[in-house]
């Protein structure tokens, strides 16, 4: 019984630490992005709140929480109020299957540094990222505004298109690791990261992941110069904040998925595993921010062409080639 209670306590503690850590990381990612983007555009970026602007996330949170929570009169109220939570919650939940370090042994007790090691972990991540579409689509629809509706429709179309290549790019990874479990996928990369044998898969997954986070150059659902703010045009206060938070948590989560599937997860020489994992995630996220500062927005037909006519066929071809090579090697 005591073992059961301590198990429960450890799980709760782990959940709390992961949740707070993830939220803090997302909040400071906003600041890091603004700073970096400012440097890329030869500006200074936020530097007023606290030393070097380090209190900016806190000031933003206070501002968003104290603002009035508006809902348009003709909106579908319940759906309008719930849609931002869907985006933020699904993004946070994906992290549950991500292993972020080697198992710890404290007092003879083995503590795996992952919230839940599902034997279908990879599919779980894909399933939840496909649920995130509802937040965008329903938020846009329920606002009862033309800009929001157009943004919602674009978001839904874009996210289902790129989910396909996101999933197909992971099939070779599963073939190499022989498992859907993220812990076992990291274990399978003990000798070399899958980036070295699957560079094409990595590229397809990374591009699709950026498209899933709806960031430049794929930010058509919120294209400012045509749709005001797209699907979250009518949102204010912390409900807008939740959409925003969801986007940054998705960035962190996609960064950690790239790290787990292609960069060997927490594995690395010299430094402790947690630090390696953190560095890899930050590296991927830094690349996403760099892309935002460099690339222009795609046109809608270019976006669809890239997804359906380039990434999906390439991913399918990659699966066939990987399967053939694996078969030859084992024969």
């Amino acid at each position: 019984m005591t073992a059961w209670i301590t198990g429960c306590l450890i799980l709760l503690l782990k959940l709390g630490i992961v949740l707070v850590g993830l939220l803090l990381l997302a909040a400071y990612l906003v600041l890091a992005e603004r700073k970096l983007l400012a440097r890329l555009q030869i500006r200074l970026g936020p530097n007023r709140a606290g030393p070097l602007g380090l209190m900016q996330p806190l000031a933003d949170a206070v501002k968003l929480l104290t603002k009035e929570d508006l809902a348009p009169a003709k909106a579908d109220r319940l759906i309008f109020l719930l849609a931002p939570a869907v985006v933020a919650a699904t993004a946070l939940l994906i992290f549950a299957v991500v292993p972020f370090g080697q198992d710890w042994v404290i007092g003879g007790r083995r503590i795996p540094l992952v919230v839940a090691d599902l034997n279908v972990g990879l599919l779980y991540a894909l399933a939840l990222s496909s649920i995130g579409v509802y937040g965008v689509a329903l938020g846009g629809w329920s606002s009862n505004s033309k800009y929001a509706l157009l943004g919602g429709i674009r978001g839904a179309a874009q996210m289902i298109s790129y989910e396909l290549s996101l999933g197909l790019a992971l099939v070779p990874v599963v073939m190499l690791a022989g498992s859907f479990s993220l812990v076992e996928i990291v274990a399978a990369q003990s000798r070399y990261p899958f980036l070295l044998v699957q560079p094409l898969s990595f590229l397809i997954f990374f591009v699709s992941a950026v498209a899933e986070t709806k960031r430049i150059p794929f930010d058509l659902p919120e294209a400012e110069n045509e749709l005001v703010a797209g699907y979250h045009t009518e949102y204010s206060g912390m409900r807008f904040g939740l959409f925003f938070l969801g986007e940054y948590v998705t960035m962190v989560v996609m960064g950690s998925l790239v790290a787990v599937f292609f960069l060997g997860g927490w594995r690395g020489p010299w430094l402790p595993p947690l630090v390696w994992f953190f560095l890899k995630v930050l590296g991927v996220v830094f690349f996403m921010i760099w892309m935002r500062g460099t690339l222009p927005r795609l046109r809608y037909d270019q976006l669809m062409h890239l997804g359906w006519k380039l990434l999906v066929p390439l991913a399918l071809l990659n699966i066939v080639v990987t399967g053939a090579v694996l078969l030859l090697l084992r024969a």
Binding site: I79, Y124, Y134
Partner: protein, 171 residues
Amino acid sequence: MTFYGVIFYVLGIIILAATALAITRRNPMHAVIYLIVSFFGLAPLFYLLGAPLLALLEIIIYAGAIMVLFIFIVMMLKIDVTPVSAGQWLKQWFPALSLSAISGLTMVFLIWQGPAPQTLLPLAQASPREFGLFVYRRYWFAVEIASFLLLVALAGAFYLGRKDTNPEEKP
């Protein structure tokens, strides 16, 4: 009642309530959302029965892909919440009730015919690997036929959605 039993009945209530709401709402968007909730209830039920792969496929395919297309179409429509009209009962409820009566009777017959309704089934866990091997060893022919059917549907959709190259029909 065991812990799993409690979860089972809670999920059962959620699924039944959401499905009942889905078929009675007059607003198509609300109906679609209740159907999604029902699929979401179904997924943990599969997980509870020892089929984690099916549970996640339920979410990825039904809740995550098919219902998004439904939402997509409803978003394109201008929704008027239509009042109940006179001939509606015959058009909607009669076929629905007769079809569910047929499937209900079949189910009762099957349960009645079942080998041993009183014995408990052994607790089984189908890992993704075992499930895949089982399906491809025992039912490969059915799987191939189903995928061929999907290929035909894909070709059909491609034919319907192709660009019209006939210049005379352009306005």
